[in-house]
């Protein structure tokens, strides 16, 4: 008798389990039954180990549960931006926490963001916020050269990103995959800052110098620290991690001389997605993230971000904002150049 009921038992069992699968686990069960604005969906490109504790604290302080989608290192930022585009007809993301700026500007240009009024906005330099409130920048990182001090003598220290194309370092310099993340943004900024022709020439010298293209900025920093590369272009958070582990590395802020191009500073950016399901909670999260406390935490934390908030401690462990010469770049123009730059980088470096 029992045997004849096996399919029914298994079917009901499977269905029950599937229904269990639909139940939100304990942490977020309250969020589901709570009012809509008690939840905020955030797509964050900042590395999970840095962003998750902050989002958890926001949830603890405000009672608004965060539902994050984190990015993967190999498709950083671009993957999330394209996800927002794919969901444009039916958005489910409230806040886009980008760890750079260009893809935020591109989403704005495509009409996929909506303005919001963040109360903390006035504490940030105008350069790092949108006048109409479409996006807010905070907690910057610099694009730096991480140099292995055992392979590169003090008198040989690279001073410019152009040094990645010097024949003496042929095959011993590296960059991350230039299609995603801050490396893609850097290439686009070069297209905007130098002009497409000169930027292409620069990339060509890198290519001819057999520059090593690796999966991410972290891998770049690790390869330099291990002596596999003499130096590489990376982000300050990845570089400082190696330096603080007492590896034989040194951080160089490239092109910081008088006549130099300047070091590229890329702020994190926050934006509310157009048609966000939880717009009020989104603004609360943005206000929280723009606070001096969060900037201070990001500066003091392992990622050692460079604070931009007027009241935040001005010095990060990496550098003081006043000490470096920032690259003068029109981010809006760089955002426009992004597809052209990405296409060229793809053809040059991804064959």
């Amino acid at each position: 008798m029992l045997a004849t009921r096996y399919p029914m038992i298994l079917g009901l069992g499977g269905l029950a389990v599937a229904l269990c699968g639909c139940r939100r686990p304990a942490q977020e069960s309250a969020a589901t039954s709570a009012p809509v604005e008690a939840v905020v969906v955030v797509y964050t490109a900042l590395d999970r180990q840095f962003s998750e504790p902050i989002l958890n604290d926001f949830a603890a302080q405000t009672g608004i549960q965060t539902q994050p989608v984190y990015d993967t290192e190999s498709t950083k930022t671009v993957g999330l931006a394209n996800r927002i585009r794919a969901e444009a007809a039916r958005p489910r993301c409230d806040v886009f926490w980008n760890n750079e700026i260009l893809n935020t500007l591109r989403l704005k240009a495509e009409g996929l963001l909506q303005p919001c009024r963040a109360t903390q906005a006035e504490y940030f330099p105008p350069r790092y916020r949108d006048p109409d409130g479409y996006w807010y920048g905070f907690a910057a990182r610099a694009r730096v050269l991480i140099v292995n001090t055992e392979l590169v003598g003090p008198d040989e220290l690279p001073q410019s990103i152009r040094d990645l194309g010097l024949p003496k370092w042929r095959g011993r310099v590296g960059i991350a995959k230039p299609l995603f993340g801050t490396t893609a943004s850097h290439v686009a900024c070069l297209f905007a800052g130098l002009g497409p022709e000169k930027a292409r020439e620069l990339l060509d010298t890198w290519k001819q110098n057999n520059i090593q293209v690796v999966s991410g900025n972290k891998a770049c920093a690790e390869m330099v620290a291990a002596g596999r590369l003499a130096f590489a272009l990376t982000d300050t958070d990845d570089a400082i991690a190696e330096q603080e582990q007492a590896r034989p590395v040194r951080i160089v802020f490239p092109d910081s001389t008088e006549a130099g191009l300047g070091t590229l500073l890329l702020p994190n950016t926050l934006a509310v997605v157009k048609g966000a399901p939880h717009p009020q909670a989104a603004v609360r999260l943005i206000d929280y993230l723009l606070s001096a406390d969060v900037e201070a935490r990001l500066a003091a934390g392992p990622s050692a971000q460079i604070p931009l908030h007027r009241d935040a401690p001005s010095r990060s462990r990496v550098c003081n904002l006043a000490e470096i010469k920032p690259m003068e770049v029109d981010f809006a123009r760089a955002a426009e150049m992004f597809p052209t730059a990405a296409e060229y980088a793809e053809k040059q470096f991804l064959k």
Binding site: V17, C20, V42, T75, R90, S215, A342
Partner: protein, 528 residues
């Protein structure tokens, strides 16, 4: 109308409904990739002259992708096959001591999710050391697939014809018999194992992505992240898909798997070959090989963990991801097996319709994982009910169904074949409809095998990354996706803990699997 007639009619409707549900599931599952492929081809072929091509066909790049895919898959196949042949013969055909332990260890290794194995490997050899190396990538994949090859080839060697070997041994020495009879009989199993490794490696992008080795599957994932249109990645996947479909078709046709024939009896193999004076040396070598591989890997992972207290604290923090993975795996495996039995029946005994199931199985097995994700996103990311489904974790479970229903069918086909057709005919003559035949004839007969299939599929769902990384909705990150995110930064404490905790989650179903297979496994080393 008489109550009996009403009851009969209700049963007829129910039977028709359940049968239709099976057909619907098969069509829906196949529709996921087909609609994505159809849209991509339409975008390529049916477009205004001024519209740009959705894909940039650069011969140089395609050559690199092809070369890398072939190197990675080739090295993986050679590595896994070597391990499979040597240990398969030792376990299945010799009197080597500890064969039971080796067989169980291989079964455990085959069940461990790829990301867990990757964490162990990358603890020992940091990923950046082998960045861009297709050879290293293939070697990693080969070592990961080696346990599966050992299991498959052990079974194949046990299924060899005992009488034929006994006859051959009357005229020839054991080595000649081994090479000319045993291996010759197992050649199609070796080929099938190679195709299995080819499929697993060729459709996966995780290790290739971490090592930045540009294979077709990695390119599908990269193109999806890079471009707004999902057409480009699907078009990139088509050559790979066509290759896999051809390879699978050859193997499945050779085996006539979907026809009416008696499957090989697992565990009723030929006599054990005596190792003689080499027995201690071979045993020590096998043990040393195992310890030399597993020992440093385990030590390397454990060194990443500061203290037992921190392990527990980190494991607690990762509990949510593990719970999501476990629940999703249970739901996915239940769906696969629930429909898998009926579909396996269709594959064996549904007349001409079985070729539809055959075609669906080949297509689904050959799909690169990201195409499953892209297909589901294109299907579900719409306003209305489908959109609500897309926002829920059910999407991940549907992804598991699409990814593994073909495997579930393949695992259940031999069980269906073992049920005598006469039993079904007798039930039919007694007036049983399709549903009643399934309930009273097939399900009771295949229940044990269904449980085995359920466990295998559940463990595969638990470790799935390729489709899940695209499908996981906000706030529902499973352990596999978390590990994939973390592994790019190197193996630190949280990733090491996640890998060990995932391994812990696999141990229980593995023990259950060993319990269910105890008689068949015992037959491996008790005979001869």
């Amino acid at each position: 109308m008489e109550p009996r007639s009403v009851h009969r009619r209700a049963r007829d409707w129910l039977a028709a409904g359940v049968a239709a549900a099976h057909g619907f599931v098969l069509l829906a599952v196949v529709a996921v990739p087909l609609q994505a492929i159809g849209r991509a081809l339409a975008a390529l072929l049916v477009r205004p002259p001024e519209a740009p091509s959705p894909i940039d066909i650069d011969p140089g790049r395609w050559a690199v992708l092809l070369a890398n895919t072939l190197i990675v898959c080739g090295v993986a196949i050679v590595t896994a096959t070597l391990f499979g042949l040597i240990l398969g013969i030792l376990i299945a055909r010799t009197d080597m001591p500890l064969r039971a332990g080796f067989a169980k260890a291989a079964a455990l290794g085959a069940c461990v999710p790829m990301y867990v194995t990757a964490v162990f490997f990358f603890s020992l050899v940091p990923a950046w050391r082998v960045q861009g190396s297709a050879l290293a990538c293939g070697l990693f994949y080969g070592l990961m697939c080696a346990p599966l090859s050992i299991v498959v080839l052990t079974a194949a060697f046990r299924a060899a014809d005992r009488e034929l070997e006994d006859l051959a041994r009357l005229d020839a020495d054991p080595r000649w018999v081994l090479f000319r009879v045993t291996l010759a009989q197992a050649k199609w199993a070796i080929a099938a194992q190679a195709v299995l490794v080819f499929l697993l490696v060729g459709t996966d992008f995780t290790i290739a992505d971490i090592l930045f080795v540009r294979t077709f599957a990695e390119e599908v994932y990269t193109q999806y992240a890079l471009h707004r249109s999902p057409d480009a990645p699907v078009l990139v996947a088509l050559p790979l898909l066509a290759t896999f479909v051809m390879a699978l078709t050859v193997i499945l046709r050779r085996y006539r798997l979907f026809g009416e024939h008696s499957p090989a009896e697992f565990g009723r193999g030929p006599r054990t070959l005596a190792l003689g004076r080499w027995r201690p040396a071979v045993t020590v070598a096998a043990l040393l090989g195992f310890v030399a591989l597993a020992g440093p890997l385990a030590v390397a992972v454990l060194r990443r963990i500061d203290s037992p207290g921190k392990f527990l604290a980190t494991a607690g923090a990762l509990g949510r991801e593990l719970a999501i993975s476990t629940t999703g795996a249970i739901a996915g495996a239940s769906l696969v097996v629930l429909f898998g039995v009926g579909l396996a029946w269709s594959a064996v005994r549904a007349g001409r319709r079985r070729w539809l199931v055959w075609a669906a199985v080949v297509l689904l097995l050959a799909l690169p994982a990201p195409v499953v994700g892209i297909g589901l996103i294109r299907l579900l990311n719409q306003p209305g009910l489908l959109g609500r489904l897309y926002d829920s974790p059910v999407t991940m479970v549907l992804g598991y169904l699409v990814r593994f229903v073909a495997l579930g069918i393949l695992l259940l086909v031999p069980s269906i074949q073992r049920v005598p057709r006469e039993t079904e005919l007798a039930a039919r003559m007694d007036g049983s409809d399709w549903l009643a035949v399934q309930r009273h004839v097939y399900w009771p007969a295949v229940l044990g095998d269904a449980a085995v299939a359920w466990l295998v599929v559940a463990m595969l769902c638990f470790g799935e990354v390729g489709a899940t990384v695209l499908l996981a909705p906000p706030g529902w990150t499973p352990a596999s996706v978390r590990a994939f995110t973390l592994i790019h930064f190197g193996v630190y404490q949280d990733l090491a803990v996640l890998a060990l905790a995932s391994l812990g989650c696999i141990i229980l179903p593995w023990l259950l699997l060993m319990y269910l297979l105890r008689r068949r496994l015992a037959a491996l080393w008790s005979e001869g």
